[in-house]
Symmetry: C2
DNA sequence: TTGAAAGCGCTAACAA
DNA sequence: TTGTTAGCGCTTTCAA
């Protein structure tokens, strides 16, 4: 129904080359310990027959799949409004491809899918998993750990449970936030507000911590919790302006939020950056370049995060694979987490 | 190295339930023709042992993988600047999941990867493929067809070669463009310009055709080829304004381009929509809502496209699966193409 | 260095 | 309705 003419087997290649199946197998898998003339003959036969190994048969005996699952939990609209995952996927894909691994994508829509994913992973279909989970209370990571599949997480996991210590890759959310707020302070701003993301996400919580690292225990009215959306940003900005009319800077937890804030500031007649300086986070393009004025923001190297996650996982699966690239500035501790540096991108808003 | 304690096999379950492997197999695969008490006993054993079938062993004999490859050719930055693929993937994933199929993601970076993808598909690792290819001259689709894997394309394939007739899913680019331009004409605009996309992509070519369907052979200076980017849109808009200062409407081939055009219009002191009405294509959010003024545009149901692609493919793989949903307005001809309707979303720019 | 042979865990005739 | 058995295509001891 699905496969037309059956493909040639090892047997066929062996017959054609006049050798045993074992010899063909050796050649196909690297040719160690086979004399040159034979290698050549086998290669030729493989070529002529267009032989491609049957992965199922191979997996059956090796118990290896050369496949890795990428689990993206709850891809709400918010998630897809931003090319974040696409970029990570690209990084992951590049690294996996370079090491001949396949990428099995598992998207979950709410809790119903969790059992399905857990079962799949427990089923030993893949050698490992790369997991993105956004919320603190997400049960999926726990399920996955229990499934016993080697896993690397994307983003610092939020659980407090020490037994669930797991390797992860994240950007330096706290450091990036710190740099942004310091920049604002360096501009002479003294009443710096912060619009947070949903604080049940570690990225949002870490950015808030970075903000606090710099401003200390500033006026609590300068911090408003929001939700990473433009509309949320507008609402938060209005609240801030009502509470602290004299504020002179805003650090928004992401660019979408910053865009909303910018609109409200314009609507209220504040000039940016003259009256109020604004900094976002993500360097989400094209948005960040196209706000009015163009947004100063904290850039994270999303693709590299993906690449690194894959690299870490492959290293766990096969220690011959190098765990990290040669000195790219990442703070590395492969058994727990790897934190990638961020950079402040200066445009016109601050 | 990757799997710790070996998982229970059919054999083990059979022993525990006191039946033969065949019986367990039957129960696991639906339980047809097995008497109730036995079914129950087997279920129990499966439960107690935590048995999960070994997919490799199963594939080896069934020649089925219950897996579908999704091939995304050349994901340039442009592609990831927009949540298009993420949305399609979600639609595909939902449909595949509903039919217990896995999604193997194959991203290609340039030509080097084509051979790799072709080999993978030819290798019979998956039952079918869903392929996105953007450019007319892309050799990948040809390679894939030759690999003999059942395939459904995303977007109307651009090749003229009739032998490569293949099923595809696309939005009604031409019809959507027609509706947009008609809307502009209905507003009383008489000098309607069009900023095209890269014309080696069928979506761009089709939108241009739709424009021509309405304006006929209007002043050729009103059409400028661009590249789907904001910067390209700016450049195109400047050229248009220089050539035809009196134009009173612009239909941009996508929202990114429209955003660029909007900026140039503002910079040149034209009021939108009073002096010049502008319509985009895609309804890319949040961009389309956040331009100034918010963009009137043509929306396509991206997620549904993905879902439909998967449905079509699954139907080819197993005719029991319904090919199309019950009357959702799609123009259906499953052996060639399915074209999904678009809708005009009115905001403030036209 | 090469080959023979024993499975990997499962499904699908076929027989009982 | 249930069990027996013969492979699916490959890797991997073990002997030669």
């Amino acid at each position: 129904m699905t496969e037309a003419a059956s493909r040639p087997t090892l047997e066929a290649v062996a017959a054609r080359a006049g050798v045993s199946r074992a010899t063909v197998s050796r050649v196909v898998n690297g040719g160690e310990g086979v004399r040159e003339p034979l290698v050549e003959r086998v290669r030729q036969a493989v070529e002529e027959l267009g032989y491609v190994p049957n992965q199922a048969a191979r997996s059956l005996v090796t118990k290896r799949h050369d496949a890795v699952a990428v689990v993206i939990a709850e891809p709400e609209d918010r998630v897809f409004a931003d090319p974040f995952f696409a970029r990570q996927l690209r990084g992951i894909s590049k690294e996996l491809t370079a090491h001949d691994n396949q990428l099995v994508l598992l998207l979950t829509e709410g809790r119903d899918d969790h059992a399905r994913v857990a079962r799949y992973l427990a089923g030993g279909h893949v050698d490992g998993a790369l997991v993105f989970s956004l919320h603190l209370d997400d049960p999926l990571p726990g399920l996955i750990q229990r499934a016993g599949v080697p896993t690397v997480f994307g983003g610092r996991p939020g659980w407090s449970d020490e037994t669930l210590r797991a390797p992860y890759v994240d950007s330096d959310n706290r450091g990036g936030a710190r740099e942004a707020v310091r920049h604002l302070a360096g501009l002479g701003r003294t009443r710096i507000a912060h619009i947070t993301g949903p604080l049940d996400q570690t990225s949002a919580a870490d950015r808030l911590d970075g903000y606090r690292d710099v401003v200390g225990d500033a006026d609590p009215r300068l911090v408003v919790e929001s939700d990473f959306t433009p509309v949320g940003g507008e609402r938060a900005m209005r609240a801030l302006l009502d509470r602290v009319p004299g504020l002179d800077a805003v650090f928004a937890a992401n660019d979408l939020t910053a865009a909303g804030a910018l609109r409200v500031l314009r609507e209220r007649g504040r000039r940016v950056p003259d009256d109020v300086a604004v900094i976002g986070f993500d360097d989400m393009l094209p948005l960040a370049e196209q706000t009015d004025p163009p947004l100063t923001t904290v850039r994270q190297d999303i693709e590299e995060m993906g690449r690194l996650m894959a690299r870490l996982l492959l290293h766990r699966l096969d220690p011959d694979t190098p765990a990290t690239p040669d000195g790219d500035g990442a703070e590395t501790n492969a058994s727990t987490g790897v934190v990638l540096p961020t950079t402040l991108v200066r445009r016109a808003s601050a």
